[in-house]
Amino acid sequence: MKSDPVVTLALALQHGLSEEEYERILQILGRTPTYPELGVFSVMWSEHCSYKNSIAELKTLPRSGGRMLAEAGAENAGLVDIGHGLAVAFKIESHNHPCAVEPYQGAATGVGGIMRDIFTMGARPIASLDSLHFGSLSIARNRYLLDGVVRGIGDYGNCLGIPTVAGEVIFHHGYSQNPIINCMAVGVVNKDRIASAVAKGEGNTVIIFGSRTGRDGIHGATFASEEISEESESKRSSVQVGDPFAEKLLLEATLELVRSDALIGIQDMGAAGITCSSSEMAAHGKSGIEIDLDKVPLREEGMSAYEILLSESQERMLTVVKKGYEGEAERILDHWELLHERLGHVTIDGMMRVSHQGEVVCEIPANELALGGGAPVYHRQAKRPMSLDQTNIMNLDPYRQDRDWNVALLELLASPNICDKSWVTQQYDSTVRTNTVLGPGGDAALLRVKGTSLGLAMTTDCNPKFVYLNPRRGAALAVAEAARNISCTGATPIAITNCLNFGNPYKPESFYFFKEAVAGMGEACRIFDTPVTGGNVSFYNESEESMILPTPVIGMLGILENLELRVNSYFQHEGDRIILFGMTGADLGGSEYLYHLHNTLAGDAPPLDLEVELRTQICLREAISRGWIRSAHDCSEGGLAVALVECCILNRKSLIGAAISLGESRLHAADQLFAESASRVILSVDPKHLGEVMALAAESKIPAAEIGKIGSDRIIIGPWVDLEVEKAAYTFYNALPKLLKSAISAE
C-alpha cells in the first residue's frame, strides 16, 4: 500500500481549507495533522457539514416553539407533535452537485439520503416530495438531466415503497449548468419511540451495519462546496451509487432496532460517511468514540484509513447499543440479512480516536469537528447588486398592449412552468402505503394517518423569479404560497423545513440574496407561526457562465384534525358560485406571462401584506371547516386566468366550464388576467352558502368578490377570454410530452 502524503499547508489548501482554518487545526491538535485527520477536518469543516458561511444567518430564523419537539439542527430531521401520541419527522435536502454530473444516481441517492435522515429517528417514512429545477428543454443536456433525475427519484422511491406525493418542476435558463434537485421526506413516529443521533455511556458498543464501504463518494461533501466547472465531470467518482433494496432492509432493521431495548443512539452515514456520523454522535452525547477501521466491511482491498473514513458509500448506518445487548441488536440485523460489525465503543474523554492496522491514525476532540462546536463560523459580506435597481423600476407598460388574450392564455397553459407534469409524476408511485388522499397535481398533497382522524398536508414551494427580483419579499412570498397551498386543502400550516440553494457565499453580490432571503423567510414564518425545523444549505450553485436564480425552497407541513373536512382544488358542481379572495393589482413583475411570452424577467416581486395573507388563510380554513366550500385553489403562477382554467380542468375525468366577470377596474387586461398578485384564492360554493362566505370574509376584513358561476363547456372571462374547456385541457395536458418530442426532432 502506498504511504500517505506529507501534510502541508499546500495540501490543506488543496483540500479546500483556508490558511486560517489550517492554523486552527494546528492549534487544536498541537501538532501537524495526519493525512486522515486532514481529510476529516476538510469534510467536517466544509460548508456542507459545518454550515460555516450560513449558520450566523440561519440563527435569526424562528427555530423553536409551536409544536416542535427538537430544536432545529439538533437531530437528523425536524420533529413536530401532531397529537394522538404521534410526531412527524420531516426534512428537505439538496443533491444539486451530484445530479449535475450524474443525474440518475445523483437523484436516487438524494432520495436515499433524506429517507435515512427520517428513519434514523425511528420514524417510518410515509411520503416523499421533490422540488426540481432545470434549464430550458430546448437544450439536449437539460432533457438528459430531467430524464435521469426523474428516473433516479422514481426507481429509488418506487422500490423502497414510499409514495412521491407532491413537488414542483421549474424551468429557467439559469439552471442550465446547475440543476437544483431538492428531496423532502416525511415520516411518522410514536412520541415515546423517537431515536436520537447520540453516542453516550462509557463502554457502550459502536456497530456499523448495512452495505460495504467502497471508494465511491470520497469527498462528496467537499465537492458540493465548490462551483461547478469542467473539472466537475472528472469528479464523477465523487457521486455515490444507490441500492434501494439495501435501503429497504436498512429501514426495516432500523425501525426494529429502535423498538428494542438495545438502542442508545443511531445515525445514518451520508455526507462524510463514518467521519461525520461518529464525530457528530460523540459531540452530541458530550462523549468520545473509539473505532477500529480494520473491522469495517470493505468492498475492495487495500483501502487506506483516509479512504475508509471519507467514503460516502450509501445505505450504511452507525449505531450505539447498550453494553451487553449487542446480541439482541445483532439478531435483528441478522433477521434482515444485513452485514454488521462491532467497530469500537464509547469513551468519556471526548476524543474521536480511530485506529487502522494497529496504529492510531486519527485523534481529534470530537466537539472541534462539529457544527455548534469547534467548526468555524463566518459572517460573510452582502452587497446589493447595482443592476437590481434598474430591473426593479423597469417600465412594464409595453408588455401590457392589447393582444388576442385567448392565444396568450393557451400559450401560457403550454408553458413548461405551468402545464401538467404527469409525464414526471406518472413515473413515481404516489399511492403505495394507501394513505394518499390528495396526490400530485393539486395545491398540496394530503395523506391520512392510519388509526386517527388526522390528515397531513404537505407541499414544496418557491417562485425563484420573485426571489431574484426581491430576495426578502420573494422568500416571504414562498412561505406565504406554501401556507396558502396547505390552507386550500383545509389544513393548518404547522412548521417548515427549507432548502436554500444559492451561489458562492464569498461573492458579496451573491451572498446578498441569501441574507435577504433568510430575513424574509423569518418574517413570514413568524407571522404564520410555522417555525423552521431544519433543512439544508447548498451554496456554490454557479458555473463559469451562469448563476442559478436564488432558490429558497420551502417544504411545509400542515395538519387537518378531521380528514373528512377537506376540499379539492377543482370545480365540481354546475351552478356553484365562484368567489375570489384577495385583490389583483398591476403586478406583472416576475410573472410567467412576462417570462414565457416576452422572455423578460423584470419589475419587482408582487407586494405582500403578511397580515392580510394570514387573515385570508384563517378565513378560508374557517369557511372550509364549516362545510361551506366545495373547492379552493391557490392563484399563483400564470395569474387568475390560469388558476381559473386549472379549476375547470384539474379533474380530468370531469371537465367543466365557468363564466367569469371581473367587473369595473382600471387595470389593464394583462394585469387582470396574468398578474401574480399574492394572497388570492379561488373558491367555489353552493349558492346557499354564498352569503355566509361573503359575510365571513367581510368580518375577517379581507377582500372578496363573487366573480362568476360554474357551468357549460366554455371558459369565459369577460370580455377577454372565451375558450372551449376541451381545448384548454388538451393544451395543458399535452404540452410537456409534445415539448420533449419536438425538441428532440428539432435537432
Binding site: 426507481d155 422500490c159 415503497g161 440479512e337 413515473q427 403505495v432
Partner: protein
C-alpha cells in the same frame, strides 16, 4: 377466511394488503416470512407487490427460489386460492403457476396511474362479485407489466376463459390508448386452469377505502372469500 401475506425482504405492498383486508374488509390476516418453510391455518395466500429481492435481475426471478415457495406450491396443488399482485404476478409466472411472462413496459418507463379494467369472466372464483362487462378502476404501479405469452398459450387462455381482467377504455372498449403497458391482447390478469391461482398487475388492495381512491378492489377479495369459504 384467513389470508396469509408472504413478505419478501423487498415487498412493499404487504402492509397495504394487511391493513385493507383487516380494517376495511374485516378478514383475519397474517404475515408469512419468506424464509418460513411451512404455514398453517391459511386459506388464501397473497403474494404482494414490491421488489421481492431487489429485482435487479428479472422481476421475481430470485423469489421463486425462496424457502416459502415449496409450501406455496403445495397450497396451489391442494386447490387453495393464491393471489399474486404486481410483483406477486411476476413471481407466479416465474415459478410456473401461471403461464406467460411480464416484460418491460412498452414505454420503457415505470408507470403509475389509474387504469380501467374490463371484467372478462363472471363465474371465476376471483371475479364473481363483479358484474361482467362492466369496468372498474384500479391503479397500476410497475416497470415490468407488459403481459406476453405464445400464441398457443393465448389460445388456451381464451378458450378456457382464464383471462379475468383486460385493460380498456372507461366504456369497456379494448383500445390501444386504454392499454398502459403494451400487454398482448390487453391482458391485465389471468388464472390457472384449475381456477385457484390468479395474478394481476393492477393493485386491488389500494382500492378498498373510499377516502383513498375508491372501493373497486373490494369485490375481488369478497369473491375469493365466498368461493373458497
Amino acid at each position: 377466511m384467513r389470508f396469509g401475506i408472504v413478505v419478501f425482504p423487498g415487498s412493499n405492498c404487504d402492509y397495504d394488503c394487511y391493513w385493507g383486508l383487516k380494517n376495511d374488509l374485516g378478514f383475519q390476516v397474517s404475515f408469512l416470512w419468506h424464509r418460513q418453510r411451512s404455514f398453517e391455518d391459511i386459506d388464501c395466500i397473497i403474494l404482494p407487490g414490491g421488489f421481492s429481492y431487489g429485482d435487479y435481475l428479472r422481476s421475481g426471478a430470485i423469489a421463486r427460489f425462496s424457502p416459502i415457495m415449496e409450501a406455496v406450491l403445495k397450497h396451489a396443488r391442494k386447490g387453495s386460492p393464491i393471489i399474486g399482485i404486481c410483483n406477486g404476478f411476476q413471481i407466479l409466472t416465474e415459478v410456473g403457476l401461471l403461464p406467460g411472462a411480464l416484460l418491460r413496459n412498452e414505454s420503457l418507463r415505470f408507470i403509475h396511474r389509474p387504469v380501467h379494467l374490463r371484467i372478462e369472466q363472471q363465474d371465476s372464483k376471483f371475479t364473481k362479485g363483479y358484474s361482467v362487462n362492466r369496468t372498474i378502476e384500479l391503479p397500476i404501479a410497475h416497470g415490468d407489466g407488459r403481459y406476453f405469452a405464445s400464441q398457443h398459450i393465448l389460445t388456451e387462455l381464451e378458450n378456457e376463459g382464464r383471462i379475468l381482467f383486460r385493460y380498456s377504455s372507461p366504456e369497456g372498449r379494448l383500445t390501444a390508448a386504454g392499454n398502459p403497458n403494451g400487454s398482448i391482447n390487453n391482458i391485465a390478469g389471468i388464472c390457472n386452469s384449475e381456477g385457484n391461482v390468479m395474478g394481476l398487475m393492477p393493485h386491488p388492495e389500494r382500492r378498498l377505502n373510499a377516502s383513498v381512491g375508491g372501493t373497486d378492489g373490494r369485490p375481488l377479495f369478497m369473491s375469493v372469500a365466498e368461493a373458497f369459504a
